[in-house]
Symmetry: C2
Subunit: 337 residues, 2 copies
């Protein structure tokens, strides 16, 4: 019986499950809410509205320049909770492990989750582990995180709140996460001078929301990239959106990789970058706050909300022509998060 | 392009993802909190303590007598949230689908989740779908559910609260879920005159908690069965536990199947059955409440908390001898939930 790899028994609810909890999860996630080891965490929340979000992470490869599936899983849900203006507080994590997965690798991932949780100042309070048979070449791990956040009073940030003449801000340069993942794939492998942008966005969001409660929309531009997020907003808010290609920050090496691969950066996934829509009169203040934080120092105004071409996104290209930017059609990059 | 099966593009965040959300998830889960289709649900909770729990479901086969992975995923988390005495309110669901999974099958599963949610009177408010490559013979689905419940004031039910002289109650007959799943497995396939006990326990728990706020411990006896749950409680509470084999309700056909397979019913998983520990003076009242509800009509007192053999569970057998009932060692039945 190999003790350095996951066995079916680690998911049994018996002695091996307990051993895994005691040796891997408790030392990493240890906090007063997790330690009673009940099947649920109990805690108090301040009065008010709650934001609740869930995300499963299946990224391949598990480790990549800039992070791994562990910090990605924490940052991803922290960001989803944050995007309505809420302050993320508590996370759950559900692991699905295949038999044969190396326990050392699991420890590395779990430690990255702990570090990411500390950085974002949230607590991982409850968890679950299931074990399934190995079916492919390499044993896999999937991680679900669900998060609870507290919404400050009076904040109503939502995809259907974009209004005519609103300004659209991008918090940083795009496409780094998706291209990083692709660069690590078997059959693609190429050197990159950048890395995934995976980062928690809750702190910059908290600064923005407290200074500018009038923000209308925030969305992190993950799967489907900036183009898909803008399309969703245009539809939800029943408005037109116009953006300018030359304003969109794309690192030269990222642009080069995109061209080589035939990908448009606006469709490539990000994990630490968001779109914000707000009344024009607040845009300079927002930019100032964004540029003052390292996670969003490259923030720019790159578009506006218009009354024409409702439910559509128009891109003004480098050449001055305009074209409709559709939502991502099929699958550009599988398993980027 | 086959339109009746899951494609990688269904996990892309683009048009196919939207189609899946619009055609499968929204019609089933539609409620005011889910419909804005933001990446998070926002809602108000009453003041007080919150219970938060997560569980991933990987059961094989997906469909079995008494239920499927969908209602199992809802009931499982409803029950985990309930076991501290909380009233479950909101659920998230995260789907991991393999390419090729039939969309009709997904609809059946999602509809079962809706029905289970209605039965338990909880709302599914936020979700996520990821698609991964098919790797085994049959395309798989994994479902994570996370749940939020509200704890009534003054209730403190927890695995470390068992006290000497407490009475131990079992809410119903055991081992039906695990044996049902096993009966459906390739290579095992046998006829059974019973089915999985998967059921929401929140309503009976609410009745118990409101009548008897002094309950010390409740635990649903899922993976690892009654024996593992009792061992966890004995350790957490630093007490001894003594149970009587002849009091444990096991249906004759279940007992027969267990004997045929060489399994002890106390180690087999349940999905609608729980252990409750409370001061002796409240036990008759508890039994009366339990027997009045169809989900727990076979409830019995089957043991007590003792000061001897701390952190151990002793079983008094049919023959009158006593033996230590250890926690489940390896894996009895893989993927039963």
């Amino acid at each position: 019986m190999s003790l350095d790899k996951i066995l079916l028994g680690h998911g049994s609810g018996g002695i091996l499950s307990q051993k895994l909890i005691d040796e891997v999860f408790v030392p990493a996630f240890s906090n007063s809410k997790l330690s009673p080891l009940n099947d649920q965490a109990v805690f108090e929340l301040p009065k008010g509205k709650i934001a609740f979000s869930t995300d499963s992470f299946v990224v391949n490869p598990l480790f990549f320049p800039g992070g791994n599936i562990g910090d990605l899983a924490v940052n991803g849900t922290v960001n989803d909770v944050s995007m309505c203006g809420a302050v993320p507080k508590f996370l759950s994590c559900g692991f699905i492990l295949e038999v044969g997965f190396e326990i050392e690798k699991l420890k590395t991932i779990v430690n990255s989750m702990t570090e990411a949780a500390q950085k974002a100042e949230i607590q991982i309070v409850t968890g679950d582990t299931k074990v399934v048979e190995q079916r492919g070449k390499e044993p896999q791990i999937f991680i679900n995180t669900s998060g609870i956040g507290v919404l400050p009073e009076g904040i109503e940030i939502s995809a259907e709140k974009a209004q005519e003449d609103d300004v659209i801000i991008l918090s940083g340069s795009i496409a780094e996460h998706g291209i990083t993942i692709l660069s690590q794939r078997e059959g693609f492998g190429f050197e990159i001078p950048f890395s995934s942008d995976t980062a928690p966005l809750n702190k910059i969001v908290a600064k923005l929301v407290s200074a500018i409660p009038e923000i209308h929309v925030m969305r992190d531009a993950t799967r489907g990239g900036v183009a898909s997020v803008l399309n969703e907003i245009a539809e939800s808010s029943n408005v037109g959106i116009k953006i300018e290609e030359e304003k969109i920050p794309v690192k030269e090496a990222v642009q080069g990789a995109c061209e080589m691969l035939g990908l448009e950066p606006v469709y490539v996934a990000n994990e630490g970058c968001f779109v914000m829509i707000l009344p024009a009169k607040h845009s300079e203040k927002a930019l100032e706050i964004l540029k003052n934080d390292s996670v969003s120092k490259d923030a720019v105004i790159f578009g506006k909300v218009v009354s024409e071409h409702k439910r559509m996104v128009l891109l003004r290209t480098f050449l001055g022509s305009e074209r409709i930017l559709q939502r991502l059609q099929g699958e550009q990059l599988p398993r980027i998060c």
